[in-house]
Subunit: 396 residues, 2 copies
Amino acid sequence: MNAAFSHPEPVAAILQAIRAVVGPRQVPLHEPCFAGNEWVYLKECLDSTFVSSVGKFVDRFEAELASFTGARHAIAVANGTAALHVALLLAGVRPGDEVLMPALTFAATANAVAYCSAVPHFVDCEQRTLGLDPHALRDYLQSIAEIRSGQCFNRSTGRPLRVVLPMHAFGHPMDIEATLAVARDFHLQVVEDAAESLGSTVGGRHTGTFGSLGTLSFNGNKTITTGGGGAILVNDSALAKRAKHLTTTAKMPHRWEYRHDEVGFNYRLPNLNAALGCAQLEQLPGLLRSKRRLFELYAAAFARVSQVHLVAEPANCSSNYWLQTLLLDEAVADRRDQVLAATNDAGLMTRPAWTLMHRMAHFSACPRMSLPVSESLERRLINIPSSAQLAQSASA
Amino acid sequence: MNAAFSHPEPVAAILQAIRAVVGPRQVPLHEPCFAGNEWVYLKECLDSTFVSSVGKFVDRFEAELASFTGARHAIAVANGTAALHVALLLAGVRPGDEVLMPALTFAATANAVAYCSAVPHFVDCEQRTLGLDPHALRDYLQSIAEIRSGQCFNRSTGRPLRVVLPMHAFGHPMDIEATLAVARDFHLQVVEDAAESLGSTVGGRHTGTFGSLGTLSFNGNKTITTGGGGAILVNDSALAKRAKHLTTTAKMPHRWEYRHDEVGFNYRLPNLNAALGCAQLEQLPGLLRSKRRLFELYAAAFARVSQVHLVAEPANCSSNYWLQTLLLDEAVADRRDQVLAATNDAGLMTRPAWTLMHRMAHFSACPRMSLPVSESLERRLINIPSSAQLAQSASA
């Protein structure tokens, strides 16, 4: 028995396992599914001429998002980045503050901090959830933070540590409950980046509704899409009112006067995009079922593949399985780019993790803890084709 | 002959003149007109599943905008505010700079300056164009500015005066050529806020193409709409490339890697909204003809109304007549709110000028010159119903 036999070629094995699920055709990473009232509502919206900043679909989309997630209020906005920006401002982030966030995330999480003229402070992840590690965060804060007059400060930079901003990576819920406990002990606000986790829950409660504010994204690659769009989830009614005000140019209500009471943003979701969102929300339960079924199909296909692990939802959580995620064993981590090349060459779109935030030149000077798990995940992580339709066609 | 007879009641006279043009029904201020391929392109976009951040309608919309305006490049973005923000950054605006801009404008113009952590510096307007007065600006700069090492500074604040940001109010072209001459003499960049002036030209050249960068808006109340949307117009190819990069999260091109080389923005126009824009652009020449015809109808109706003046395009300019604009004589300026109340009560939607920027608490400490013309225009200006359809139904 030679080494090649006991550790079979991971590149070919992964290709074969994906093909076993998705069949012989070209497959994108994630494709939207328009199988319901999308067309009907778009037409209704166009016929009403209310395609822009106000309209019944915006109101309805917000009400239905609140109902689905269990948040008291949902404020529809232009995209997930806009939602994060305003959520951070409303959580009290001020210029010169530090915001604790995972190094393993999409650039928007760190960019939104930068828009507030605040400083991202990078925290390690845990492999179990792919999200921020609250236990590592607690240990770290015990060594670098101090509380003065009820406010947490970074002892070495002297800057306020205002907010912790966890992110539910690829739809898998991170350990939000332990994070809330750390935040309580260190006087931090929690803003939850749930851009990827619409439909994901922890103990039955929807991600994005644990922190003071949460954010969603409806970009074209997400579980449901509005073309471009996002939302802020919030329970506090005063914050919800502020969120609506700030995202709609901070105009003061008046029959005809154009007067604004602060620097506001044009972060409105057009009614046209909300119309698409209303139709997509109707499809969401079925899409979530299909995406779970796709996970099961991949789990069966990858059970036979050694040195590769398909990431499952953490205990006591339900993942929306937005992007199906493989982790290579460390022993074959150096094959990652070969897997990416071979799959993409074969018309199966795959992608690695985001380059860790602290590796980008513009964030390289930001404070950070040691990031061994994030760095390991970055080396080993591969997302594979994840559209809900794949489960439907596979089971047909 | 009593005073009432020589100066007839302006409120009733204005109401009557508007009714003479628009007929007896309820009329909004400005309603979009979807009479072409809007329906076809939206359906085609949905069927393609490319509704989001990339797609053929985005490329086509950008190419057709460039062709229509004569700009070498057009970059489609989420809205006019986003376009302004990025145009100012690309014109070199840095934190602590001052940006010269009219006090009479929509809040977005000043907000975009604030997003750059720069300071709006308010300049007076001229009644002839409703836009920034380049002659008043020149006189003012001669008294407050100094050039050091090729850079203009405000002598009293010590801050760099980096950019002048004129705006073509209600579609009427401001005196951009004289403004360019002032900018040259004082080493200022020119960014043109053409949010309201798609289709308006000066000497045959499209507004928004005179400065280093120009911006457009396709909000629901504009001449054409994409639901929400905007564009950056620019001739310099390197700036155009930077504009596309900055508005699309500054992601570096790579087959699968997610790496960004600066803090970017999620300011993309979704393909769904661009599809609507492509259909609307096809309608634009006809809409412009109708809006000009509506001006002529109002001009005839208001010719008989004393103490009220309908604003016409400046000499050597073609206005898109986005919002038809009345100016009350100073003698009856105190009747403005009565006119607004009477018309809106009658179902004819009208509005005053924007509250001048320096009157808002958050901009009240910004530097400004004396603003007598802006203040006079603010007291006397009323926009009346302006939809293109009004000319079509009136002439039918």
